[in-house]
Amino acid sequence: MSPAVWFGEVGASLLAMDWTPAIASKLAPTVFPTGQTESAFAERLPLLLRDAVTGSLPEPWRWLANSLIAIVAIIVIFASLFALLTLAERKILGRVQNRPGPNRTGWGGILQPLADGIKMLTKEDIVPAAADRLLHFLAPVVLLALSIVTFAVIPYGRHLVPVELDAAVLYFFAAGAATELAIFMAGWASRNKYSLLAAMRALAQLISYELPLLLAFVPVVMLAGSLATTGIVAAQGGWLGGVLPHWHVLTPPGFAGFVIFMIAALAESNRSPFDLPEAESELIAGHLTEYSGFKYALFFMAEYLGMCALSGMAVTLFLGGWHAPLAALEFIPSYVWFAVKLLALLLGFIWIRATFPRLRIDQLTRLAWKFLVPLALINLLTGGFWVLTTHWTGGMLVVRWAIALVLVVGPFLALGRQFQARYAPRTYRYA
């Protein structure tokens, strides 16, 4: 049997599969919506391009081709974003630190990611003699795979959702929850004491921050009344007088949720000031100590992709997804707005990295359990209150805002006091 025939057979059998309605409807790629008269040409451009390629195919093949195009597009776009992000991070860190950053490769260092990539690919791949070779190999692969699957449910634009799921938010966090397994595998399999310590730290850190991360978005789900990312974005459409968008971050529970979410996202993606698993001043490179060459590059890619995915989710949940901030700016395509917000959050990540010292492991877990989790739980209450009082108008609106603000700010101040009291700047005496 020739390869082409074999491929055809497998494809045909895949298509002939009895996709149960529950899955088939979920996995169906976005169909071109009819009656969307308001969307401009630019808005539909990605879909038109896709249809130009696949439009002539018969229906089942078209479905497969569309899915493949979506997958390839996501991987290509985010892989190049990763490359640019490494460059941007080094450039921005350099500027923050009074130095130019990479500027030798290409124009102003623009080819640096390419040079890094070639270096990584051609480096020798070293596996320690005592290592568990299978797990050592699997760890970066699993991590990268898990970071990529999270991209499936993020709505990138008005018509650009790769997979529409009923419980998309849950899917996202379920896939994200498994990443710590990969980090543990890397730390364990390296058979290095630093790596093992890093694995323990990663487990403790990710368990601690999973909870506030999950609790932080629940008020948003309550506000939107949906676990689907499309539903959550749809709930944030519209403006108050064409100026004030209905983004969740602009409500008291949404704002508190956003802040908690971003802090937990920093910890989940192992970024400074929560980069304990790879704290270079303590653990050399943590779970990456025994990795080199392409596996190391895969780890880095997975880490940046995870950061992108979490930022994308934060945009979707809190910052209005692909909605424009002003009604007057709606003529700009939705995916551009999504990209702008995503980049803004990513730059925030880089800025924070350039600025903060690192926490200690006990302080890290204390921050999660004694500060973020209680705040997130109270925020659930705030969210419930906000949902129950949506019909209040006029003077009651002021009351609603006042109560919600008290519910957000009060616990923050009360819980923050315990940290304030322990540590304070000191005054010094002179002999």
């Binding site: 630190q97 270079e280 303590e282 926490l359 492991i361 002999a431």
Partner: protein, 387 residues
Amino acid sequence: MTTAFTPTPSGAHVRAVHDPFHGDLLEISMGPHHPSTHGVFRMMVTLDGENVVKLKPVFGYLHRNHEKLGENTSYLGSMPYTDRLDYFCSMTNNWAYALAVEKLAGQPVPERAEYLRVILAELTRLLNHTCLAGFLLQDTGASGTPLMYAFREREKILDLFEALSGSRMMCNYQRFGGCRIDATPAWLAAVRGIVDGYGAFLDEYEELITGNEILLARTQNVGVLSPALAVSAGITGPMLRAAGVDYDLRKVDGYGLYPRFDFRVPLGAHGDTYDRYMVRMLEMRESIGILRQALAAIPDGPIMDPKAKIRGFRPKPGEAYGRIEGPKGEIGFYLISDGTPNPYRYRVRPPSLINLTVLEDLCLGHTLADAVIILGSIDIVLGEVDR
């Protein structure tokens, strides 16, 4: 089954590595190739989870027979070697050595040279403390930003050193009875410019760093050094003063021209890492004051005692100990002369090594991450520890 508990001076308990009741302790070897051991220094750290239960410093990787070399070279020949002791502070090393020889030979020093020595010593203090603040923050994981700010200022001072002595770090500048090269008015003006700008840099740095909650949480109550332990271990310098003991050789000995200057000695109250950091920041501000006074008062005149003998220098038999308040603590040289061109005994009292002896006491009971910043706050340079 028995557990092995060994009490240590600080009251913490050291547990055996294979403790049948508590599972295994993890013994890791940090260094000599570790990003944050400040050179080729090694710590054998035994961890219970993340907590340090035992810490054994291992050094000697940079040992180069410094003292024996000193006994086999002429007095002048040892001067360049002292640059390499604490390579951040070659000016103060030179001064301490020159002071010891001057005591041995009863050699006076002209006033302008004394002023230049004070200026250079205080510049060295600024340089050293600035770098330390940068390194300490780097150890807490601040991605190099504070370090780069600190190094920007350090370069300015190193440029001054280069302009004066011809070398950025290995200055070899002091001589017995004076200094090697006279400072031009332009150089003094350049120093004045940098000193005037330094306060602004310190303000900027403290604005960015000192109040940061994470820094406070990481450094306060970490690595507490009690005054009693500090005194009995022979700790000197900012580390001792951070523990609250008022001991500054500039005040105690009053060597050089220090009694002429008006400055204060900041003291810590807790002896923790934060105090060690803050005492240094405050000392820098005092140094700026000293530099201002010295630059205003520096007289014209010779920089070398005309009667001083450089070549064929043979001091009369005897012994002398010269010490100054270096940036890291008391740096002292002990010399015995038998009347030959080479010293009979040449001994260095390195502050880094002696301050390092309390490392385990400071680290016990803290986490691995704390051990790293405690080491950073002790401020060691391996060239001086190992000699």
